[in-house]
């Protein structure tokens, strides 16, 4: 085990890692003793067996991937390690001693640190205050600020301790979480889908940091469903399905397809891009400029784009660069100057969302719960919100309940939405299921043009593939699709042409064929856009 580990690490880090590992295990006979070991862990919730007989271990200096679909039990598992949830059965050991944390503070004291998927930061508080809250015995304020500055520079993640979280970018916020963990010198660092909000350059920076940490002997448990990054950066992978460990392997020895197959327990459907012919121009946006809607928003600056029938246009960019504002301007939530938005020759700039829907321009915003769907409405009622006219669910001002229910049922069936039925409230659906419903509700209206923002955010691999395929199928039938996303792999997979949205400006489109992630990263403003650009 340990041999295979060192063989794989790069030469520069190996000596250091060897030394650190020896230091850590000094005085013990076993040089390959795991930092963390789980044996037969189980946890049940009413009606669900979240984890069942889960056993695995993490070695010192190892980056260990925990791989699985949404709902495979990854989160429950790490919550048990971090003391947020108590296991029903099984046992854990940390550094050879029993690990039975009563709460996260006990887990932190034992040497477990965790970076959450949804940042556990306090917006109105400063960086230093946030970090102090994540520590057991923080030093006095000045000393803490000095240490934050020092540690963050040592790791190449500069942070100003006096800034408030609300003024930071997503990448900087994650730095705060990481520095918070590093200041406690953890033995085991848990990272829950850390790259979902980062640019490629930011992600590279993160992996460099993780390798530095691993070289110092820290064990890292890395949760993700991005197969490529696991294959290039992790030493081992434990794969979970339906709460059980189904496999444990060296991810570098397997292809992404193999890993995905292990994850979902069957063959992944290959995305089918075939059969699409670019046709006539459908949507044309010319010289679209909009002031920022509020203090935190972004102004749109002179946006121009054309979209042809059968084409998928990808728009990439880090969140907060005008994605929401662009979607609002296209959907009709925000009106723009005459002549800026035309659909098949008709000027829609001054019309609201409903006339645009009738004309065939549909949109699915990023925020599923609250923007795309009303949380406390049933799925039937939610279909009425956007499909009322196009599907004749409302006639003469009266709701045709049967037609609405039938349409909701059709969406549930057509998009494999897992729910007891159309009477269920939107908030009761998991993120992935609701996303399938929201996309399905628009796709099945046969739009001329569909604009989607972050169509697979937080959605597992299987569901994401289904959503992407539905967008390709829609384009094949002659519709134009605009995909706004932060997931560059997704944009490369789907789109024919790619534009970058940066501080409210849209770059000219480039064909996706032959485009590399590095080139895209540069188009997006890259790593230099993370730190000082927001000052």
């Amino acid at each position: 085990m340990y041999r295979s580990l060192t063989k794989q690490c790069n030469c520069a880090g190996r000596d250091l890692r060897d030394k650190q590992v020896k230091d850590l295990t000094k005085g013990t006979e076993l040089t390959d003793m795991p930092v963390f070991r789980a044996e037969g862990l189980g946890k049940s919730y009413p009606g669900v067996r979240a984890n069942d007989d889960v056993s695995f271990h993490v070695m010192p200096g190892e980056i260990h991937a925990l791989l699985g679909e949404n709902g495979a039990g990854k989160s429950t598992l790490v919550k048990m390690i971090y003391g947020l949830v108590r296991p029903d059965d099984g046992r854990m050991t940390l550094g050879g001693a029993a690990h039975v944390p009563s709460d996260p503070r006990a887990a932190r004291a034992a040497g477990v640190a965790m970076v959450f998927q949804h940042f556990s930061l306090f917006d109105a508080l400063t960086v230093a205050e946030n970090i102090a809250l994540g520590m057991e015995n923080p030093p006095p304020r000045r000393e803490l600020s000095a240490r934050i500055t020092k540690v963050s520079h040592d790791f190449g993640l500069p942070l100003n301790p006096a800034r408030r979280i609300v003024t930071l970018s997503a990448g900087e916020r994650q730095r705060v979480e990481i520095i918070r963990c590093l200041l406690q010198n953890p033995r085991l660092l848990i990272m829950d889908e850390p790259t979902s909000v980062l640019t490629p350059q930011e992600a590279e920076l993160l992996f460099a940091t993780l390798r530095k940490l691993a070289a110092q002997g820290t064990a890292i448990l890395y949760i993700s469903h991005k197969l490529d990054e696991i294959r290039s950066h992790c030493d081992r992978a434990t794969i979970l399905r339906h709460g059980r460990v189904v496999d444990s392997c060296d991810p570098r020895a397997h292809s992404a397809r193999d890993l995905a197959a292990m994850m979902v327990g069957g063959q992944m459907r290959q995305i089918d891009r075939s059969g699409r012919q670019p046709g006539a121009v459908l949507l044309e946006v010319r010289a679209l400029s909009q002031p920022a809607p509020n203090a935190e928003g972004t102004a749109l600056k002179d946006i121009a784009l054309t979209l042809r029938a059968g084409e998928i246009l990808g728009i990439g960019g880090v969140a907060g660069n005008g994605q929401e504002e662009l979607l609002a301007a296209l959907s009709g939530e925000v009106r723009s100057a005459p002549g800026t938005v035309t659909l098949e020759g008709a000027d829609l700039s001054a019309t609201g969302p409903e006339p645009r829907r009738i004309a065939g321009l549909l949109a699915a915003p990023e925020d599923r719960l609250g923007h795309a769907a009303v949380p406390d409405f049933s799925l039937t009622e939610n279909t009425l919100l956007t499909a009322g006219s196009r599907k004749s669910l409302v006639r003469g001002g009266l709701i045709d309940h049967k037609a609405a229910r039938d349409y909701a049922l059709a969406v549930i069936e057509g998009f494999d939405v897992r729910t007891p039925g159309p009477h269920v409230a939107a908030r009761a659906l998991s993120g992935g299921n609701l996303q399938k419903f929201v996309i399905g509700r628009e796709v099945m209206q046969n739009p001329r043009v569909l604009v989607v923002n972050q169509p697979t955010w937080g959605v597992d691999a299987g569901a994401a593939a289904a959503v992407r395929q539905s967008l390709l199928d829609l384009a094949r039938q002659g519709a134009g699709v605009i995909v706004i996303s932060q997931d560059l792999d997704e944009l490369l997979e789907l789109s024919d042409r790619f534009c970058a949205l940066n501080e409210g400006r849209l770059s000219p489109p480039v064909p996706t064929d032959g485009l590399t992630l590095d080139r895209i990263g540069l188009m997006l403003g890259g790593a230099h856009g993370m730190e000082e650009a927001h000052l």
Partner: protein, 296 residues
């Protein structure tokens, strides 16, 4: 007419003391993420309990201690409803006000028409409780901004999910904050009955609790801001009383409503500006008024 500035100032800090106490307490409660609209009910409870204890024992300080306990006790009713049974905070707070007013009116009957024992005068001819209120301003500021407990309390109020994920007890923190707010409101109410009016009258807090709530917003959730707001209200109160005494040719009704009107106008003006200041860190706590429920 003659208005001596120094005596006006001494009267001002005295007149602002009840709302200063209540608003400082509510400030801590709201910083913990709880909106307790029952300030008026807790004040009137403190006013009666304090007056009764002071009258029965002859010791006004014992009265204030009992008022603090009574305010904390009735606030725990609100705490139980909202923190244990997850009842709506707005409805529970309004119910607390109505309950407190009714309860005090009922138990207050025997104390009508009797007089409170005299308060001993503190340094600079200023009542000891007024001093206590002034001292509480830096104490609350220091607690919120310079102590570990205060940081945890602000964290709980800003993002209770994150605080829970980091292992802090959201419910316990909020229970403690609510009890503190109740005790402070109780002292504020007792100041009216024991030190200002010197007797018990039904409904004698006369909306001071609502002004205290407004001042917390006005203050941008800071202790110095609460002091400024309380002094504004107290200052206009004293001024209009002086103008009334001086026989100014303005209807008494207009003068009486001046403190409330002034507070509201300043409040609206400041709120209009605050909308844009979240990036500077000055705004309502992120979890204000929302209940927290954790699956364990």
């Amino acid at each position: 007419m003659m208005i001596d500035p120094l005596s006006v100032f001494l009267l001002l800090i005295s007149a602002s003391t009840p709302i200063l106490f209540a608003a400082l307490g509510e400030l801590v409660v709201e910083r913990a993420g709880v909106l307790n609209l029952g300030v008026e009910g807790m004040m009137i409870t403190g006013a009666l309990a304090g007056f009764a204890a002071a009258y029965a024992s002859g010791n006004p300080f014992l009265g204030f201690a009992v008022a603090a306990l009574a305010g904390a006790a009735i606030s725990l009713l609100f705490a139980a409803l909202t923190q244990l049974f997850l009842a709506n905070q707005v409805a529970s707070g309004l119910a607390l006000t109505l309950f407190g007013l009714g309860l005090a009116a009922m138990f207050g009957k025997p104390f009508e028409g009797v007089k409170a024992p005299a308060m001993p005068i503190g340094p600079l001819r200023i009542n000891w409780i007024v001093w206590l209120g002034l001292i509480m301003v830096p104490v609350v500021w220091w607690f919120l901004n310079r102590t570990r407990r205060g940081l945890i309390l602000r964290g709980v109020g800003e993002n209770h999910e994150a605080a829970h994920a980091l292992g802090y007890d959201v419910r316990l923190t909020r229970l403690a904050a609510i009890a503190f707010g109740g005790a402070m409101a109780g002292i504020g109410g007792a100041f009216i009955s024991i030190a200002t009016v010197l007797q018990w009258t039904e409904g004698m807090t006369a909306g001071a609790g609502w002004i205290a709530l407004a001042i917390v917003v006005f203050s941008n959730w800071t202790a110095p801001g609460v002091l400024a707001g309380a002094w504004l209200f107290g200052g206009v109160t004293v001024l209009q009383l002086r103008l009334q005494a001086a026989g100014v040719a303005v209807p008494v009704q207009l003068l009486s409503m001046a403190p409330y009107l002034a507070t509201i106008i300043v409040l609206v003006a400041i709120s209009a500006r605050q909308k844009y200041s979240r990036r500077a860190g000055a705004a309502a706590p992120g979890s204000l008024g929302t209940n927290f429920h954790a699956l364990r």
